[in-house]
Amino acid sequence: MSGPNTDYDPVEVTPLKPEEVESARDAALAAIAAASDLAELKQVRIDHTGDRSPLALANREIGALPPQARKEAGQRIGQARGAVAKALGERQAVLEVEHEERILVEETVDVTLPTDRARPGGRHPITLQSELIADIFVAMGWEIAEGPVVEAEWLNFDALNLGPDHPARTLQDTFWTEPVDHHVVLRTQTSPVQARTMLTRTPPIYVACPGRVFRTDEYDATHSPMFHQVEGLVVDEGITMAHLKGSLDHLAGQLFGAGIDTRFRPSYFPFTEPSAEVDVRCFVCRGVDSAECRTCRGEGWIEWGGCGVVNPRVLTACGVDSERYTGFAFGMGIDRSFMFRHDLEDLRPLFEGDVRFSAAFGTEI
């Protein structure tokens, strides 16, 4: 190491000659310019600015100069070293960028490779459809009521004005549990949930009841022993069929698109009086030039479900004051709604569990 040298040599020091300094500087600059990668530049740095490099050695000799010569030599060497350091820095930056670019190029992958490491999951479309319908009712301030599928005969039939000799009982082919005289059935409709609701709550009642129901239908493209229904029940003061129509129009619009409404036709259900069949306007052709429409088969309307004013006999059996309150109820098939909403002709894929079917719907419909 060279510390301050007081014992300087009066003789001029060779490395401090201006031409030597210039030559060393030029050699360094040339080497820097010639360095083609960071490793070479590192060696250049060692060779030309390291302890044993000519400029470092020269710098060390400055102290040996007479004081009057130091300034000039110092300036000369300082400039040379500055120029080298600057060139080094610049070259370093250039080479770093080059290096990074080269690495990035080398690291290129084929981003078109498949990325299907994770299995796609999905929820059942009927679950999703039920939830969608439930959300529509919840948004109206209604609540979602539920009940068991293995149900008391009284709640499935008698309480709903379907006495044991009612002809309409034979319209609903019922699964009975053993022994038959225990009066327990698989519910044929979600209406027993309505009965349970009226029996346990006091009006105002605004509920929708989605769920599984059962009929002894042989399984084919349009029948299933198990299917899904949603029913609605409102019991309040001053409720009329106009409120029923309003609720169903709203549901139709939310489910099938703005402007899709419903129409009523007189019908018969023991649970309601007056009763109506409800058709929903075809959301594909909207009832205009329906002739060719596959969805509504040229009708302009699609049969959707049944509805009506809750029969006062039902209110009485369920402990609701039928003088003070009126109510309405409706019901429709969730599977059926799903089928025409999603253009499905055969219902069996709904119950056969092929993962390709559910997975196609993901987690929202």
């Binding site: 999951g121 679950t127 919840v138 402990g319 009126t326 092929d354």
Partner: protein, 829 residues
């Protein structure tokens, strides 16, 4: 109910400009829904004309058949006016007869195109038609011979044969039994079709007064049979043909013409709605009686079935015994036949409930039963009988016998009182009292008005009208359901989804997000399924609730477990070529309880809470279960390397993920339960409560269900998890002081569950332990036979300070010490 439109118009005048579409639309909108319209001749196109047979030359053929070479005058329908040469194989006609001829270019039902063709040595230019060829009936092979004077050659024959008739089919709901008659339909046309008028009631006729000269009848059960009318005719010609209009009409209604006597009773039933039974009077012995059957009695009905009767069945008897199942079906012994010349006409009113029960008990579904069980007008028994007598005398050459037996009086309808404002209050329509009265009268009610109170007596053909709301429906259907306004009701602020409902969605999303696919299966199960799971005889899942009328003998009960259906579904997917499957289902299972029957409670009042409790108590438990099954790869092989097949931990992990989504932590311990592999089944616990099981399936179960080996499954009681789901989670507090990481390797006996060691470490480490994770399990020479090494990573941290070396070593040693004490663990050096 099917009927030709023209028949309806026999009883009501409809303006000529009302189209069929308009008329049926109005009927639909007032309660008789149009099912279909069709014409018998809809499938026939081209020239189908009246022809007169001019000549008819029989020509025997080599094959033994004789054909007729005919010339037929078809006017100028053939374009030339020359007689048409036609070969015909039938023989039931003669020169001079009027026949139906289809000319070349015509197409008959079944797409049968007619052209001039060479046959039997002639060019046959057309065809002389039989009823079968025109689609008018299967029974008639002979050529149709038209009555003389019914038309001119060359004229379109369709109107003469009723081929251009429009037949409408209406759906008749249980409350509109009157719609099962022309009488009822025509009346509804009058009240619902604008401009329709002049309803002529076919049941409104002068009938001879009752007397004692008729067939003796005694009714022992006037409740079951309030009215019994008997009439007889003699000198009936059993060979008399049924007039075409009757045959065509009952055929249009979907009934088969049989014989004049039978066809007439059916015709009058369609016309009036009143079922009539005809007996061969010569076969009926002595007084006709109506009573309930006695247990053990039998009857062979018209259809040849011998029936065991019940004490609830109403029967008709004579001196020989039972001769008919009243109102449902007649007996064989008194059936009318080809030799019947005296007819006993029974027109009786029967109790609808008895009819319903008898029909159901004997599984008889007949046109008569359908009407009797829904309710028929009890006041028209005499008129209907008289109408039958009229037709039998007119078309069958019979003479009406003197004597008119009428037993009993028709029940009367109870008047109904309601506020005149009720229809408006119920429907939301603006309808005033005058309109209400007018509408009720239009449908046949007699109405008394006292201010706002109306007392309406329903007409006898409306036994379904019992309540004020029934009257409201009559008013609303006439005002028009399409005029009901649309008003959204304002519900009070709701509470949204219940917590359980919201959590169920969360469970579904969690599993779907983790790659599981939801399926929906039928909840039916059979012993074979439970055997296939390998359940031992005393497994509680074998205690199933059976169905008395299952669709399939293989699955006659409600399932106690979701697994059989899931395993079958998984196998089906594999069969379809989806080799990696992960499916789940959330559904209730049915766990029977030993309880008594569910009571049938009254309906004229709210049941008491105790009665309701008894009702609910009688039902089985139906907890919501979560089941899942996976097979194949959890991660597929790919360019990233080898895949990973599913293993037991995927099943446990999925349930844990669900629990985690509910804010719950489950613990596991080894268990042996079918259908799982006895060494690879985890019992899942929430605290001390076992909530389910998960793991790898028993190899035999995989084989039985046709699943690949090492498939996995889980089933848990989701109900318990939902109940305990954490509602409010406190915000976490975490320390920002440095963490101290310590690894510990412990050697234990191979049989010691890692969970036990982990629990011991956790407890021993005390409150400085922030987390603990098992990161390696090693077995092999270095730890010795029957031993395993478990490597844990422990992280220590204090909330308020940086831990010292002493703190850390102390906690770690305490952890290891407790693990050693509780599980025999030795620290691996």
């Amino acid at each position: 109910m099917k009927t030709p439109l023209s028949w309806i118009k026999d009883y009501v005048d409809v303006p000529a400009d009302v189209t069929t579409a308009e008329l049926t639309e109005r009927l639909t909108m007032t309660g008789l829904k149009l099912e279909s319209i069709h014409s018998p001749g809809a499938d026939i196109t081209g020239p189908l004309v009246v022809g007169r047979v001019l000549t008819m030359d029989p020509e025997p053929q080599k094959n033994g058949k004789t054909i007729n070479w005919c010339t037929v005058d078809v006017g100028d329908a053939n374009g030339t006016g020359e007689p048409q040469g036609i070969v015909c194989g039938a023989h039931n006609f003669a020169p001079g007869d009027l026949v139906a001829v289809v000319l070349p270019g015509g197409v008959l039902p079944g797409g049968f195109a007619i052209s001039a063709r060479k046959t039997y040595g002639h060019v046959s230019a057309g065809m002389i038609c039989s009823a079968r060829e025109l689609g008018l009936g299967e029974d008639h092979d002979g050529i149709i011979v038209l009555p003389e004077g019914s038309g001119e050659p060359g004229q379109d024959v369709r109107p003469l044969l009723g081929l251009d008739e429009e037949i409408i089919e209406l759906e008749v709901n249980p409350d509109r039994a009157y719609g099962l008659s022309l009488r009822g339909i025509a009346r509804d046309v009058e009240v619902s079709v604008a401009g329709a008028s002049g309803f002529r009631d076919p049941a409104l006729r002068e009938t001879p007064p009752a007397d004692d000269a008729g067939w003796p009848v005694e009714v022992e059960d006037p409740e079951g049979c309030p009215v019994f009318v008997a009439r007889t005719v003699s000198g009936f010609d059993p060979t008399a043909p049924t007039p075409d209009f009757i045959a065509q009409r009952i055929q249009a209604a979907g009934m088969r013409p049989i014989s004049l006597a039978v066809d007439v009773t059916n015709y009058v039933m369609l016309e009036t709605g009143r079922p009539i039974h005809g007996y061969d009077a010569d076969k009926v012995q002595g007084t006709v009686r109506v009573r309930r059957a006695r247990d053990g009695e039998t009857l062979t009905t018209l259809d040849g079935t011998r029936r065991q009767l019940s004490a609830e069945d109403l029967v008709v008897t004579d001196d020989s015994g039972i001769i008919g199942l009243g109102g449902v079906m007649g007996g064989e012994t008194t059936e009318m036949s080809a030799t019947t010349t005296r007819v006993l006409v029974e027109s009786a009113h029967w109790d609808a409930t008895s009819m319903f029960r008898t029909g159901k008990r004997h599984k008889i579904s007949s046109e008569a039963g359908k009407r009797n069980e829904r309710g028929v007008d009890p006041t028209i028994c005499e008129a209907a009988a008289d109408r039958v007598v009229e037709l039998l005398t007119t078309y069958g050459g019979a003479t009406a016998d003197p004597g008119h037996t009428v037993v009993g009086t028709p029940p009367t309808a109870a008047p109904i009182t309601m506020a005149a404002s009720l229809p408006a209050r119920i429907s939301g329509l603006d309808v005033d009292a005058d309109q209400v009265v007018a509408d009720l009268e239009a449908v046949g009610c007699t109405v008394e008005r006292d201010g706002d109170r109306l007392t309406a007596t329903p007409p006898p053909w409306r036994p379904d009208v019992r309540d004020p709301h029934d009257l409201v429906e009559e008013v609303v259907r006439l005002r028009g359901y399409d005029r009901i306004p649309s008003v959204l009701p304002k519900a009070p602020g709701g509470r949204g989804l219940t917590r359980a409902q919201a959590l169920r969605r969360r469970v579904g999303r969690t599993l779907a997000g983790a790659g599981w696919v939801e399926v929906v299966d039928f909840p039916f199960v059979g012993d074979a399924d439970l055997d296939a799971l390998g359940l031992p005889a005393d497994d509680p899942r074998r205690s199933v609730l059976r169905l008395s009328n299952p669709l399939s003998a293989e699955a006659p009960a409600m399932t106690t477990t979701l697994l059989p259906a899931l395993l079958r579904t998984a196998a089906r997917n594999v069969g379809h070529g989806t080799t990696s499957v992960a499916i789940f289902e959330t559904a209730s299972v049915t766990l029977p309880r030993s309880t008594g029957p569910a009571p049938i409670l009254p309906v004229d009042r709210r049941p008491t809470d105790a009665e309701l409790a008894a009702l609910v108590e009688a039902l089985p438990d139906q907890p919501l279960h979560l089941g899942l099954v996976a097979t194949g790869d959890a991660v597929p092989a790919g360019w990233w390397g080898a895949g990973r097949p599913v293993d037991w931990s995927d099943a446990v992990g999925a349930v844990r993920a669900v629990a985690d989504a509910l804010g719950l932590a489950l613990t596991t311990r080894p268990a042996a339960l079918a259908p799982w592999h006895p060494g690879r089944c985890a019992e899942l616990l929430l605290g001390d409560v076992v909530v389910g099981h998960a793991g790898e399936l028993h190899p035999r179960v995989c084989t039985t269900f046709g699943l690949p080996a090492r498939s996995v499954a889980a089933e848990v009681d989701l109900e318990v998890l939902l109940e305990h789901a954490v509602h409010l989670r406190p915000a976490p507090a975490f320390s920002t002081y440095p963490v101290a990481k310590e690894d510990v390797a412990l050697v234990v006996d191979a049989s010691v569950p890692a969970g036990d060691v982990e629990a011991a470490l956790r407890e021993g480490a005390g409150e400085l332990l922030e987390s603990l994770r098992l990161f390696d399990v090693y077995t092999g020479d270095q730890v010795g036979e029957g031993r395993k090494s478990l490597a844990f990573n422990l992280r220590f941290r204090a909330p308020d300070r940086t831990l010292t070396e002493d703190d850390i070593v102390g906690a770690r040693e305490a952890a290891v010490a407790l693990a050693a004490e509780l599980t025999g663990a030795q620290q691996r050096s």
